[in-house]
Amino acid sequence: MSLDSDAVRRIAHLARLAVDDREAEGFASALSDIFEFVETLEGADIAGVEPMAHPLDAEQRLRPDAVTETDQRDRFQQSAPSAEGGLYLVPRVIE
């Protein structure tokens, strides 16, 4: 499969990555190579095979519905690029 720059721009938009025109061309060529390689999977005989999501086919473990964490908001928000009064700050979303 071959991807062009427009396809790369669509994927980049879904992935929330800014790409300029020159980068889009580079990604188009690299991603096309990678997809061509991945397409060797076409030859696999997978009729009747169950997909495998977990190596040990484990089931999701559930924990008791109890409060176990303490409030560490201030500490965790120290990692934020911009926070104030317990809120994360971003450009205005609603006019």
Binding site: V19, G26, F37, T40
Partner: protein, 484 residues
């Protein structure tokens, strides 16, 4: 002073022949003097290390005996360390100081380990050469023009150059075993679920697994004893009773059935490499092991299947880097969309972007069945190959890599070529099995790695086989000349 193994230093600390402070100063001195040649550390935590060493000396003085008490180690910079920058090799997390310790870090601290610093790695563990790091490539201590492998290249190079006796690594497609092979050290990827992923920055959650890297199998067993164990904070952590991975090291190999997958010795394997591996296998045979040819017919599909599954999980996991809660934020965002797209474009390097885009594409509407679902089915075929093999043999052995460490820059322009350097390691991750690489010879001056693959939860057996091999060989004890 003679540079001991982790196990050797443990003995000397307990005999009070050296203090943890002296030992810590010895290795911090080596890092300060020699790491400029390697770039194996992103952050060196001198002051924290000396404080931890003093605390360890006090505990040693009181006669306490925890498994790693007073021993210097390094953490791959993918493990969160409270109060210390945790960059994951990325500009995205360059400003990130973790507010908590990963379970592995906490367990090693509790075991008394003294952390010297955080090691370099491919960005978000995506790479096989350590060249994608935001902090620059790492050099191979055996030849500075060559790569140390990746993604745990900093840990491997640091251990090989004896800048630290042991370090942690993580392995999603070979990221412990391939650099261990390239740098001539021993590294173990445990069974999926053995070592907690809590606080280990996620790349591909169904494949990621942390493990030890050290000079010897004996040292890896000591490390794994501290690292492994059930953790309720990791939803895929396996509930099993604690095991002593050092207990079986001395077991003899008489009658042990070792399977040699024909697919790992075929076309694509460097002929000199094949000869070195066959010589190493003869050592195991002399110890009483029985070598049996086996087949893993679907192993050729492992790299393409991996490059669907791993990027899909990567694109989901890395969606959290939004420039809002932590990590890099672009300057003067125009609106929320611009904030997201520009922060991510500036924060991530090219390989990480490629993988995010592959993953986004294979998970997008209309393509899911053709790529992701198909790859998950192929994944089962690969795991079933191993299941069948382990009804006939106890352990599987072969080369860790198809070729010797390559030159810096040799494969960086061709992603697919780079991906194929993990051709013998990736199937093990897809199946979730334990795998180990140990030094098994040299070609020219460069190390050759022998890979051992075990059945689920059979780490003790792998360490046993490697330890027995290391009784009859001295490849693990050799040091690169520039670092003696």
């Amino acid at each position: 002073m003679k540079l001991e193994t982790l196990t050797g230093w443990r003995r000397r600390l307990r005999a009070r022949e050296i203090s943890s402070r002296e030992l810590t100063e010895l290795y911090l001195g080596r890092i300060a003097r020699l790491d400029a040649q390697l770039n194996s550390f992103i952050t060196v935590t001198d002051e924290l290390a000396l404080a931890a060493a003093d605390a360890a000396d006090e505990r040693l003085g009181r006669g306490e005996e925890t498994p790693l008490l007073g021993l210097p180690v390094a953490q791959k910079d993918i493990f969160c360390t409270e109060g210390v920058r945790t960059s994951c090799g990325s500009r995205m997390l360059d400003p990130f100081v973790a507010p908590y310790d990963a379970t592995v870090v906490a367990r090693m601290k509790a075991a008394g380990a003294v952390m010297l610093g955080k090691t370099n790695m491919d960005e978000f563990a995506m790479g096989s050469s350590n060249e994608t790091s935001f902090y620059g490539p790492v050099c191979n201590p055996w030849d500075p023009d060559r790569v140390p492998g990746g993604s745990s290249g900093g840990s491997a190079a640091a251990v090989a150059a004896r800048l630290v006796p042991a370090a942690t690594g993580t392995d999603t497609g070979g990221s412990i075993r391939q650099p261990a092979a390239f740098c001539g050290i021993t590294g173990l990827k445990p069974t999926y679920g053995r070592v907690s992923r809590y606080g280990m920055i996620a790349f591909a959650s169904s494949l990621d697994q942390g493990g030890p890297m050290a000079a010897t199998a004996e040292d890896c067993a000591l490390m794994l004893n501290a690292m492994a164990g059930f953790d309720p904070r990791d939803s895929t952590s396996v509930e099993r009773r604690a095991e002593d991975f050092s207990a079986d090291l001395e077991r003899d190999l008489k009658g042990l059935r070792i399977g040699l997958p024909r697919e790992f010795f075929g076309e694509g394997l460097d002929p000199e490499m094949r000869a070195a591996i066959e010589t190493a296998l003869a050592v195991l045979k002399d110890r009483g092991a029985i070598l049996v040819d086996i087949n893993l017919p679907n192993s050729g599909l492992s790299v393409p299947a991996y490059y669907v599954v791993a990027p899909a999980e990567c694109s989901s996991n890395l969606a959290r880097y939004d420039g809002v809660r932590f990590g890099h934020r672009c300057a003067d965002p125009l609106d929320l969309q611009d904030l997201y797209t520009r922060s991510r474009a500036e924060g991530f390097g090219a390989e990480v972007k490629r993988r995010i885009m592959i993953g986004t594409y294979v998970l997008s509407a209309g393509y899911y069945d053709a790529y992701y679902l198909k790859a998950q089915k192929v994944r089962r075929l690969i795991a079933d190959d191993f299941r069948r093999a382990f009804t006939e043999v106890d352990v599987i052995a072969g080369p860790t890599t198809p070729e010797l460490p390559f030159r810096l820059g040799e494969k960086s322009a061709d992603p697919v070529k780079m991906y194929l350097s993990d051709i013998y390691t990736i199937a093990v991750n897809l199946a979730g099995l334990p795998g180990l690489s140990m030094p098994a010879g040299t070609i020219g001056n460069l190390p050759v790695g022998l890979q051992l693959i075990g059945n689920y939860f059979d780490e003790a057996r792998l360490l046993n086989v490697a330890h027995q091999f290391q009784q009859d060989t001295d490849w693990h004890a050799r040091m690169p000349a520039a670092f003696v």
